[in-house]
């Protein structure tokens, strides 16, 4: 009896230990992946093994350009919602006209980067995990390796370049779209004309607000790329494994983005 309960405690400890090791291993792998990708981006051209331009452009198109319509739609909707809530709240103090300040700051500092990050995680994180995971399951990654083509240079590095460029760009676009959504609603509800709206908005926003959003978006870019790619490379066990990796990549990258957002907001505003 005593032995059994000791045994089960020990069993749990072993399980806990294994889980902890797996998590540490994953973070260790992220560091390696990021390091190797940077290495190829910087050193590759000198070794005559550059990161492929065509792959980078293709990634930029699929991560950035193809996401423009959905980013616009959701950001616009968020802008409208912020305007509705802001006007409702401020009306209680008779200060509706101050709503522009609220919209501008919360969009640029928070909602633009966050909504873009989450969208890119959903679109790109899953696509990366599925694409690289399928390649892993089909031994395509092994084939690249034995051909002397480093999979990190060939597959991962273009993605890092593309996300680091396109996520901030999309974030700026999302900022504009959300502000536009706010403008449209303010005109309908308060009769505030567009020129006055944008005038007010730009006078409130200081450069620091925009940089803060962009710094966050760079962090989100790295998170999406790391989580998507590492889950893809980690696939074992065929099509089912690819499915698991895809789901995991989306859930994990969104979770890390929200957590990172909280931490950054805290530290950047102290």
């Amino acid at each position: 009896m005593a032995e059994t309960s000791f045994g089960s405690v020990r069993g749990r400890l072993v399980q806990l230990g294994r889980a902890a090791t797996a998590v540490i291993e994953e973070y260790g792998y992220w560091v390696t992946l990021l390091g190797e990708s940077l290495y190829w981006i910087v050193v590759g051209p000198f070794k005559r093994r550059p990161v492929r331009l065509s792959a980078t452009v293709a990634q930029m198109v699929s991560i950035g350009i193809a996401a423009v319509p959905i980013v616009f739609m959701l950001s616009f909707a968020i802008g409208v919602m912020l305007a509705i809530q802001g006007i409702y709240t401020l009306r209680q103090f008779g200060a509706e006209t101050q709503v522009v300040l609220g919209i501008a700051l919360s969009v640029v500092r928070e909602f633009g980067p966050l909504i873009t990050g989450i969208l890119v995680a959903g679109r790109t994180g899953s696509a990366l995990a599925a694409r690289i995971g399928t390649m892993q399951a089909n031994q395509e990654i092994d084939a690249l390796r034995v051909m002397g083509i480093d999979p990190v240079r060939f597959l991962a590095a273009p993605v890092f370049i593309a996300t680091l460029v396109m996520v901030p760009a999309l974030t700026l676009f999302s900022d504009l779209a959300a502000m536009f959504g706010g403008a449209v609603y303010c005109q309908l509800e308060l009769g505030l004309n567009h020129v006055a709206y944008w005038d007010q908005a730009t006078s409130f926003i200081v450069i620091n607000d925009v940089t803060q959003g962009l710094i966050k978006s760079l962090v989100f870019a790295v998170i999406v790329a790391l989580v998507g790619i590492s889950n893809g490379f980690a696939v074992t066990g065929g099509a089912e494994g690819v499915g698991r990796a895809t789901t995991r990549a989306v859930v994990a990258s969104i979770s890390y983005i929200v957590l990172a957002d909280m931490l950054f907001t805290y530290f950047l505003n102290r």
Partner: protein, 264 residues
Amino acid sequence: MSANHYAIEVEDLVAYYGSRRILDGVSLQVGYGEIMVIMGGSGSGKSTLLRHLLALQTPRSGSIRILGRDITTASADMLHELRQSIGVSFQGGALLSSLTIGENVALPLREHTRLDDSIIEITARLKLEIVSLGGFEHLYPAQLSGGMIKRAALARAMAMDPKMLFFDEPSAGLDPVVSSELDDLIIKLRDTLGVTIVVVTHELESAFKIADHITVLDHGRILISGTADIVRNSSIERVQDLLHRRSRPIEISADDYLHRLTGG
């Protein structure tokens, strides 16, 4: 120095998956311009041995010398260079599904040479021609039959005119005519270009047709290694079982069997 005599030299290779020992003290040599066939029952460790020869996995212990260089201790740059003189055709083909087969064959040339695009394309078409896939270069792997994928993979393996070729199950799933053509091609590659070739196969007929040397693996150990004749005439019972497709006798004690069934 022995490095001059053998294209591949494996010494006392031990490999594990987790805590399971898969290869147990495997030693073998393959001479330059020789065809070595690796045979053995399912799960005997053939693919695992191949993965080690290709430096896709690092052994627990032992050494592997390919073209005179120890790949278990080689630097990344050295491996990179070595891999340009090696071609591999994987069991499932492993063609990049996002590229056409023409682009697949051209890929190693694009990555490793500074040749003109038009020359690369011609070379790729030429290689596809050799495996009777001329005119198919615009198709994607998903649009090919299993046998065509195998042949396209072979064309890609030959793209860089390698000194050494590795095949995992080249003729499994091919019709007898194509499979026999493939055997002829393998022999021709050795005879005309002096390519060193390692083939993993289950097909007995094909094995004896092409092999200079045969190595038979069983449960991660080498059962026998020698010329085709030595293997054919071996008196080892397990070898004869394999050669004559006899089912294997149960080789486990009653106690162990019970233990295994009850999962204890």
